[in-house]
């Protein structure tokens, strides 16, 4: 009898699970359920090309309705799942529908963290979905207040500046992207944003944020008052693991999975932002909020569910684009204690290499130098660092075309 594989969550991970199941020869039913009404799409352009108006929603679609039909992938879009019943192996949707599964994939991603004491308002934005991006795009005029100096806050600040919008950015930590970057790289980003006219307020918190009909007013901990047309809350995300927790799957700030993506229930797999998984590079259980992790962990989980030997062992990697600078981060450079330089990353053209005290690689950060990272990837996978004497010589230049 034909099997049914159900995927909850139609983002980068969900779409790649579906696609991979088919390309690996699965001939049963594939049902892909998404809470958003859109076909699965890529999120990285939402803070950049889509927000700027240079890319359309259509250009970000990962798996169109037509492609899904050709591959016999059944879409249930705009449908929330309310419960997973592991005993009877079925799920219940908010519209009352029950769907039975033989294997289940949870690829629900993450949701934005919000400030607890602030009432939602049309002038206070978050950015996760296409609909969020469309609303935020309408808000890019006058003065934008960005709460949070992480990657999303910085990318939106850069996009807003390129459209001539005034930007004030408030970050509670004393430096930008403190969770993922070492101080030397945070300093470069601060310089880049200051040079492009962003009013940066580091080590500063918001005591109160109020929204009015045509403005938002923030009161900072130091007593300063900032008035803006709109605010963006970009203070991180939390794993969307509620369904998994409710049905008793092992969770710990994310759904716990092994290196094949299998959860504590052998018939249920998970991939992407929502998982906490063993990472061969760091030697710890980590949760990653990146496009590459969402895609590549999903491909492994789909193969594993089909019984194809597979293990997710990639070195963490992500990129950002700000003011025409392509920033790529490999490994966990923030964990490094010794830093080496190739080219001039401190001026936006070169790479930092971060090593642990014992010489093992911790990570690397390339500024407009993605070619520098490529040879490091297989080395990092083997926990080896390049020969420093030859590595530190200057790097080949890279001229970004139009960046996604």
């Amino acid at each position: 009898m034909s099997e049914t594989f159900v995927i909850i969550g139609a983002g980068q991970s969900g779409a790649w699970v579906a696609r991979t199941l088919r390309t690996e020869g699965f001939s049963g039913r594939i049902i892909l359920i998404g809470a958003e009404a859109h076909e699965p799409y890529e999120r990285p352009p939402l803070s950049k090309a889509v927000l700027k108006g240079e890319a359309t929603v259509a250009s970000t679609i990962l798996l169109s309705q037509a492609e899904a039909e050709t591959a016999s992938i059944e879409y249930c879009l705009g449908v929330e799942v309310s419960e997973i019943d592991r005993t009877n192996r079925n799920i219940r949707c908010a519209d009352g529908r029950h769907i039975s599964y033989d294997k289940l994939f949870i690829t629900t991603g993450s949701r934005v963290r919000y400030l607890p004491d602030i009432a939602p308002s049309a002038r206070i934005h978050t950015l996760r979905s296409h609909d969020d991006a469309a609303r935020l795009r309408q808000a890019l005029h006058g003065h934008l207040l960005v709460l949070g100096g992480g990657w999303i806050g910085l990318e939106v600040a850069a996009t807003a500046r390129s459209l001539g919008v005034s930007v004030t950015l408030i970050e509670a930590a004393p430096r930008l992207c403190a969770r993922s970057l070492p101080p030397v790289a945070s300093a470069y980003l601060a310089q880049l944003h200051a040079r492009n006219g962003v009013d940066l307020r580091l080590a500063q918190s918001v005591a109160a944020l109020s929204a009015y009909q045509d403005s938002v007013i923030a009161e900072l901990a130091d007593g300063n008052i900032i008035t803006a047309e709109n605010a963006l809350v970009a203070i991180g995300v939390v794993p969307a693991s509620e369904l998994a927790q409710a049905c008793g799957l092992a969770c710990e700030d994310g759904i716990l999975v092994d290196e094949t993506g299998q959860t504590s229930d052998p018939d249920i797999y998970a991939a992407g932002d929502v998982t906490r998984h063993p990472n061969a590079f760091t030697g710890t259980n980590i949760r990653l909020e990146s496009w590459a992790n969402a895609q590549n962990q999903a491909i492994i989980a789909a193969r594993a569910a089909l019984g194809i030997p597979a293990a997710y062992r990639e070195v963490p990697w992500f990129w950002s684009d700000q003011y025409g600078v392509n920033i790529q981060v490999l490994g966990m450079p923030v964990a490094g204690s010794k830093f080496y330089r190739r080219g001039a990353p401190q001026t936006g053209m070169g790479t930092w290499l971060a090593l642990h005290e014992d010489g093992r690689p911790a990570g690397a950060i390339a500024m407009n130098a993605p070619r520098d990272l490529r040879p490091l990837r297989p080395m990092f996978a083997n926990h080896t660092a390049p020969d420093l004497a030859t590595w530190e010589k200057s790097a080949p230049a890279f001229t970004p075309a139009a960046l996604a």
Binding site: W16, R19, E42, W291, A292, Q295, N296, I299, W317, W319, N326, P370, R371, R374, F398, T399, P400, A401, A402, L403, A404
Partner: protein, 101 residues
Amino acid sequence: MRWLDAAAEQDIADGECLGVRVAGTPVALVRDGGKIHALHDLCTHGAARLSDGFVENGCIECPLHQGLFDLATGAPRSAPITEAVKTYPVRCIAGRIEIAL
């Protein structure tokens, strides 16, 4: 089919890429194991130049998102690539590389 001059053979070392413009079209020339391939110099996924990429195992890897294309056919060989990139016929004559668009 009309052959168009693209570059000098000596301009590309083995395992290297070269980005050129031929009659207005961006072309990535790649030498892999003595054979020269020509592909449209734009990734079908993101907006990156394949000539800034890496050559390995008969594929070219996009420098931005690590997607792989088959050098000979342009076919997708890894995620996130789902659409083939156009390839062009190549010939070498008197030290020059020529392609047909």
